[in-house]
């Protein structure tokens, strides 16, 4: 008992979840003070309360919900298509050196052109409607998913495959009993990157070519000089992106409960 008492910290410590709020809250405080003391003109940096009430108004009219829903739907569609293709290509290149030899150089060149760089060309190809957004988001998710899946499969220790050979696993058994489970951690890293990239690409493409969505809310707020609306949209974009990443992290942890001691 004495040992336990001695091991307890002398002052109450913050729970780990609380620490995460420490920095944002101090930033918010700094922002409030800056707005109150007028360090920056209110046209450039509106007070947090202004942003809050702008968000409240947007929520009240349903604009916030509808724009968020549109953005989320685009990300879900684009991410689903891009990550599915990325998984397929990553697995194909990971399993077969021949496929790698044929496809990898072109893929690398393709990946080197930033997602934004594809937008002008794709605009000419498919116009500025929904297909453009889906294609851009899909491309953003596709590259990190394919790369990490490929690297993950290549990194599976050959000694695992030997166990499979010993028990006469066929190719399919080897793939879904050994290779894919062993590659789950890097594949999930790829999916998380892919989702983050997809969300970033969404905002970019909505800034350039859209009349709805959270990215459009940003442009609109800037054009109308409603900086409170613009900042509100930024905050929502950040929060949604954060939530998406947390969802992926939770899924990852569920799939990998065996890793936790």
């Amino acid at each position: 008992m004495q040992v336990a008492a001695a091991a307890a910290p002398p002052w109450p410590s913050l729970p780990r979840g609380g620490i995460a709020f420490l920095f944002p809250l101090s930033l918010l405080a700094l922002w409030s003070i800056s707005a109150r003391l007028g360090w920056l003109p209110p046209q450039i940096l509106p007070a947090p309360s202004e942003v809050g009430s702008a968000l409240w108004d947007l929520a009240g009219t349903g604009e916030l919900a509808s724009n968020t829903a549109i953005s989320l739907l685009r990300v879900v569609e684009g991410f689903a298509a891009g990550s599915a293709l990325g998984l397929l290509l990553g697995i194909a290149m990971g399993l077969s050196r021949t496929t790698e030899d044929y496809v990898k150089p072109l893929f690398t060149a393709f990946a080197q052109v930033p997602t934004l760089g594809w937008i002008p060309f794709l605009m000419l190809l498919v116009g500025i409607g929904e297909p453009l957004k889906i294609l851009v988001i899909a491309k953003a998710a596709f590259v990190p998913v394919a790369l990490n899946t490929f690297a993950g499969i290549r990194a599976v220790p050959p000694i695992y495959a030997e166990v499979g050979a010993l028990f006469r696993f066929n190719r399919w058994q080897l793939l879904h009993r050994v290779v894919l489970p062993a590659a789950v951690p890097p594949i999930f890293t790829g999916l998380r990157y892919g989702l983050t990239h997809a969300w970033n690409a969404l905002v970019a493409v909505e800034l350039l070519a859209s009349a709805e969505g959270l990215g459009y809310l940003l442009v609109w707020g800037r054009q109308m000089f409603w900086l409170d609306t613009m900042m509100g949209a930024m905050i929502v974009i950040g929060i949604v992106g954060f939530a998406l990443d947390r969802i992926m992290a939770a899924a990852e942890q569920r799939l990998q409960s065996w890793r936790l001691a």
Binding site: Y160, E162, L166, F167, F169, Q256, W258, A261
Partner: protein
């Protein structure tokens, strides 16, 4: 289940290509193991004893000569030959029971029969309480016991053990040796254990084969005609141990002075390797 487990290794030679030159690792090895026999192979590192097990397991089929189990030629891995590696090689994402069950994936048994076989073999190695544990929750000795259960779950004719206790501490090692002996007695299975530990080889084997390195070949063979369970401290075992030790030391001493049959000296190979690396 009726299983025989008569293993014949006839005139087996194996070469590796190291840096453009051929390195003979096994030179005309002849070995025959009777059904139900516990044969141990002891040798210095580099004597090809692990390579020999891999050939018998069918993991490497590029060799000259013939290997047959119960008259059936070995050309690929087969469920009638079980292998336990030096490290457990369990899949970390599967529980103990799932790891053992994976060995039965292609055994063609019914679901119920598989489940029973898995539970029986986990019980055989004394890990029933841990069947739902993940590998990271096991000690090294427990993990190796799971690997043994996985090696046995197909009821193979022969179980090949490639220094399975080499990485364990002395106490765990002694306990697992007793365990292996008990399993062998209970299952009446042919076992072929490779080790560098003379005491282990003599304590467990009906027969101890001493291999000499570079190229790997059989140098001597000793019968250990002692009843079981054996007493580690008995004078009879000590006598066999010292004969085996003498034979083993002779293989190492001979190697220092002569390099048989034009095989490259290890230092020369290492040097070639280094210069080749340097050139790249």
């Amino acid at each position: 289940m009726a299983r025989q487990g008569e293993l014949r290794v006839e005139d087996v030679s194996k070469q590796f290509r190291v840096n453009g030159s051929e390195l003979l690792v096994l030179d005309r090895v002849d070995l025959s193991v009777a059904p139900g026999e516990f044969l141990t192979i002891v040798g210095a590192s580099g004597c090809g004893k692990s390579t020999l097990l891999r050939l018998i397991a069918g993991l490497d089929t590029d060799f000259r000569g013939g290997i047959a189990l119960d008259g059936k030629r070995v050309t690929e891995p087969g469920l009638e030959r079980g292998l336990v590696f030096q490290e457990p090689r369990l899949f970390p994402w599967l529980t103990v029971a799932q790891n053992v069950a994976l060995g039965l994936l292609n055994a063609g048994l019914s679901k119920a029969a598989k489940r029973r076989a898995v539970l029986d073999h986990i019980a055989l190695v004394g890990l029933t309480a841990f069947q739902d544990a993940y590998p990271h929750q096991l000690s090294g000795g427990m993990a190796q016991r799971v690997a043994i259960a996985r090696g046995l779950v197909n009821r193979p004719g022969v179980l090949l053990l490639d220094e399975p206790l080499g990485a364990l501490d002395a106490l765990t090692r002694a306990r697992l040796q007793d365990e292996l002996q008990r399993i062998w007695a209970a299952e009446r299975i042919t076992m072929l254990l490779v080790t560098h530990d003379v005491e282990e080889a003599v304590y467990l084997g009906d027969r101890v084969v001493v291999m000499a390195p570079r190229p790997g070949r059989i140098a001597a063979s000793f019968d250990v005609a002692r009843p079981r369970p054996r007493d580690r401290t008995s004078a009879a075992l000590a006598a066999v141990r010292s004969s085996v030790m003498t034979a083993l030391e002779a293989t190492i001493a001979a190697q220092v002075f002569d390099t048989p049959r034009g095989a490259p000296r290890p230092m020369a190979v290492a040097r070639d390797f280094a210069t080749a690396e340097g050139r790249v």
